[in-house]
């Protein structure tokens, strides 16, 4: 069970690189970042691993932990669990079979495309939806950043999230079963997920609704892209690569990770597909107020253009998205010509996979609660309102918090003191209660010793 006290995060900040520019402070959708001693730091209970800070960081100080690639060689049967969006990173003239061959050449003995499980995932959701009409609108469990967002910010909606394993987990179960059925022992199988984003890493390392993931390691998609491309360049144009059986995914499966990918095949009468975390939050606010009625299904994705716009996507989100559409159009044409998609392979153990697809209900982990004692919480709230009146309300961020309100909350919760507000300092100086030297000390404690330069020198 997930322990609220030890919440795994994939995103970390390298203090030696961080210059405290405060870009991340302003962009974080859950106001998880503060500046202290000239460096940014993350308040762990507020972070949902969406990766917005990583995207905007100007000095690449915000990084995403991944497993050592060398681990791949520790297993005789190393498996790459590959998201379809990986293939869309490459120019269209690089054939899928060539990419598969390169993956094998760099060390993966088996490659399973995660979206092969898309149809099973859809079926598991249909069955769950049929039995849980009272929980409408049902929210897809697909995007782990969204599941975490709901846990911390919309605890009233946790029961609406479908507690169903995502295609990644289903394909991992399938790969494992498939290999073990061939007589390969578990210890010689290493399952490696090639992740397009940080939230999926957190989801693997600290899954919501289950004890432990069966996945043995996670490799960031951009670093694998570099390795594969290097291999292909090394081998050159005339390299004769072994002809491998590549999975021919259905058009539905290929499109499933893009925006509308789930919605277009769901059975709901009324549904919405929303991408971009700000858009999602705006919608969830309305949903929570009961302002939107009659919605049966919601596909919510943290990234603009869904996984094509994921953190480790190496190319423009629209270019990647179009390559996925191009692949899907080809698949659709084959399907029209009566050719069966090869992802039907999983159908042989469909019932086993669906039977194992339900996880424990998602639990709230509200970050908003001021105090577990309600009278104390009320006192704090009163104080926050009073403090806000003293603050300039321009959200300048000089105090190291993203907004005046966040700062007031930090002060009341004992995380900082009012003297760190620049405007309050000036006021106190005018009353003779603080000296300019005092104010400078405060500024240095937030922004670092070196930030205030001696102009005379």
């Amino acid at each position: 069970m997930e322990n609220p006290m030890t919440f795994y995060h994939a995103i970390e900040i390298d203090d030696s690189q961080c210059i405290g520019c405060s870009r991340c402070l302003r962009i974080c959708p859950t106001e998880a970042i503060r500046i202290r001693n000239g460096k940014a730091y993350i308040q762990e209970n507020r972070c949902i691993d969406c990766g917005k800070c990583h995207e905007i960081c100007s000095v690449k100080a915000i990084y995403v932990k991944q497993d050592d690639f060398e681990n791949v060689f520790k297993y005789e049967h190393s498996v790459a669990l590959l998201p379809s969006v990986f293939l869309s990173q490459f120019q269209q003239d690089v054939r899928v079979s060539r990419i598969y061959a390169a993956l094998k050449d760099i060390g993966f003995r088996h490659v399973f495309e995660v979206e092969s499980a898309a149809a099973i995932y859809a079926e598991a959701k249909h069955r769950y939806a049929k039995d849980n009409l009272d929980k409408e609108p049902l929210i897809s469990s697909f995007c782990p950043a969204i599941v975490r967002l709901i846990q911390i910010k919309y605890p009233a909606l946790v029961d609406n999230v479908m507690p169903i394993r995502v295609p990644l987990d289903i394909s991992a179960m399938y790969a494992l079963k498939n290999l073990m059925d061939q007589g390969i022992p578990r210890e010689s199988i290493g399952l490696f997920y090639i992740t397009p984003c940080a939230a999926k890493i957190a989801a693997v390392k600290a899954p919501v609704g289950e004890e432990k993931s069966i996945i043995d390691g996670v490799i960031n998609m951009d670093s694998l892209y570099n390795r594969v491309l290097k291999k292909i360049k090394e081998q050159g144009k005339n390299y004769i690569f072994p002809s491998l059986r590549t999975p021919r995914l259905s058009a539905d499966a290929i499109l499933s990770t893009l925006t509308n990918g789930e919605r277009r095949i769901c059975l709901a009468k009324r549904s919405y597909a929303i991408d971009g975390i700000e858009n999602v939050m705006d919608f969830l606010d309305r949903l929570e107020n009961d302002e939107v009625e009659g919605v049966e299904f919601l596909e919510l994705r943290a990234c603009d253009q869904s996984c094509a716009g994921a953190l480790f996507s190496c190319d423009n989100r629209f270019l990647c998205g179009e390559r996925m559409y191009a692949r899907a159009r080809k698949a659709a044409e084959r399907e029209r010509n009566g050719e069966m998609p090869r992802d039907k392979e999983m159908d042989s153990c469909k019932e086993y996979l669906i039977g194992n697809s339900i996880v424990d209900p998602v639990k709230p982990r509200s970050m908003m609660i001021l105090d577990s004692d309600r009278s104390k919480a009320l006192e704090k709230m009163e104080k926050i309102v009073q403090l806000k009146e003293l603050l300039p309300k321009i959200d300048c961020g000089v105090c190291g918090a993203p907004t005046c309100e966040a700062f007031a909350t930090d002060v009341v919760c004992g995380k900082t003191c009012l003297e760190e507000c620049l405007f309050y300092q000036r006021h106190q100086e005018s009353l003779g209660k603080m000296t300019i030297a005092d104010s400078l000390e405060k500024m240095k404690s937030i922004w670092g010793e070196d930030r205030i330069k001696d102009q005379e020198k």
């Binding site: 009233a156 929570e288 107020n289 009961d290 908003m368 609660i369 001021l370 919480a377 009320l378």
Partner: protein, 137 residues
């Protein structure tokens, strides 16, 4: 904890300002999601009523550790027959208000359903005051 909001006649765009802000406060106070929902639905209905029927008004909210009291007081035409207004489906909303998806005659009944105490007082030609209390249990 006392909160105050102003409601402007005909400003449907900003309907829900008070209820959203109250929702945030209740979340910070660790009030159960089910109770928060009842409060938000009831207050939103009351806000919409003041916007649709009256010439604006005020929302006064008092929160203490075991309950929330909400008063929505408007200046407006008033309600001649409160018992009739409490019936589901009874509406005096103008057609243009109905066109916007409001005025289905469910406002007051919906408030009744969601709160622990409801008191409506009104004077024709002066205004209406809706008082609601929800206990946190």
């Amino acid at each position: 904890m006392h909160l105050e909001y102003t409601v402007v006649e005909g400003d449907f765009v900003n309907a829900g300002t008070a209820s959203s802000s109250v929702k945030k406060a209740l979340k910070q106070l660790n009030v159960s999601p089910q109770v928060v929902k009842r409060v938000v639905v009831a207050l939103y209905e009351a806000e919409v009523n003041a916007i649709a029927h009256a010439y604006g008004g005020k929302v006064l909210v008092d929160i203490d550790s075991d309950k929330i009291k909400m008063v929505v007081a408007d200046k407006g035409p008033g309600i001649p027959d409160i018992a009739l207004a409490m019936q589901e489906g009874y509406s005096t909303a103008r057609p243009e208000v109905r066109d916007m998806g409001f005025g289905a005659g469910m406002g007051l009944p919906n408030m009744q359903k969601n709160v622990d105490k409801l008191n409506v007082s009104s004077e024709v030609g002066v205004g209406t005051t809706v008082e609601m209390v929800v206990n946190f249990v």
